[in-house]
Symmetry: C2
Subunit: 201 residues, 2 copies
């Protein structure tokens, strides 16, 4: 388990400029693809980019943030997201997940979700990397709940979340595409909640 902590942002200081950030993203894509999420180290990525490993924290707040922006192209910091999702009662976690993800994806115009799916359908390795990341993220998220069958529950959640994104941003089925976020939250949140804490068989 990674012990990377969120670091305070120091965006005001730019020791090597935007070039460092770009070099890190390119190096990260290569190293994550070659070694998977767990196998890729911050040191290996920084070495390939030709910059100091401290630059990963500086620009991305750690390995999670670098992965999220370089590979998943998420328009947000996963550690910040984790904090938002954890902030509330366990029996409303499904609701927070659906609301937060749709709101964030909508805010980014859906394009990042399409890019993510293209990368997963195009490269076997990208699927593995996404799975490692999703597993880490959801393990961190639901570790306190104490459900059994954590692995199966996580993949059930993934199936509904990925499907939600597919229908809203990729295949674009009406009325799912234009439906109000809260209508989707009421319809889909109980599914996520059951997968997280309910009876799954």
């Amino acid at each position: 388990m990674s012990t990377t902590e969120p670091t305070s942002r120091r965006r005001g200081r730019r020791p090597a400029g935007q070039d460092t950030r770009t070099a890190l993203i390119e190096a990260a894509r290569a190293v994550f693809a070659e070694n998977g999420y767990d196998g890729a180290t911050v040191r290996a990525i920084a070495t390939r980019a030709g910059v100091d490993a401290a630059m990963v924290n500086h620009w991305f707040g750690g390995k999670e943030g670098l992965f999220a922006q370089a590979v998943l192209k998420l328009p947000f910091d996963p550690l910040e997201l984790l904090a938002i999702l954890r902030d509330g009662p366990d029996d409303e976690l499904g609701e927070r997940i659906v609301r937060t993800f749709i709101t964030r994806w909508d805010g980014a115009g859906g394009g990042v979700f399409v890019a993510l799916i293209r990368s997963v359908t195009g490269h076997e390795q990208a699927g593995h990397v996404l799975r490692d990341f999703f597993q880490k993220f959801f393990t961190a998220l639901i570790s306190s709940i104490g459900s059994d069958d954590v692995s199966l529950r996580m993949t059930l959640c993934a199936s509904q979340m990925v499907g939600m994104g597919m229908i809203r941003y990729v295949a674009k089925f009406e009325p799912f595409v234009t439906e109000e976020v809260e209508v989707l939250v009421r319809a889909v949140a109980p599914t996520l909640q059951r997968y997280l804490t309910g009876d799954i068989g």
Copy 2:
């Protein structure tokens, strides 16, 4: 609403051989992409293929079958599938859907699902065609149940079914990939059942 009926198969007779079938599939891909599922007529497809419109019924049992094989590359006849899904009590429909689709997709090695997703992510139009088809198929399937919000319910079902396929065949998250079909049926069927007949908000 199409009124195409299933025809009896006459596979023994081959008036124009395998070439007719191939020509129809190619013409169908072009016409469905240009006009969508509803706008594409059997006559237009046959004309483009340079064969008699009766050949569509002969080789594919109608427009649905031609679409399923030419565009969705489904390894089964949608009308036959509809008959299987209708055969049982309404409150077990979610169970039949999950079991039947996973079994069929597994049987085809998952490759057809991957091809379907690639086609949808690669072409805006393919998403529209898939949605038209899905809508027709599910309207036919659930028309007898008498639920409200049929359109939203159908897209909710689509989100869970597409997500299920994405996680099992494309992104390949363990343990979802290797899990026994009946484990997935017990876990996912209540979701489909609620989307079809339950409280969605």
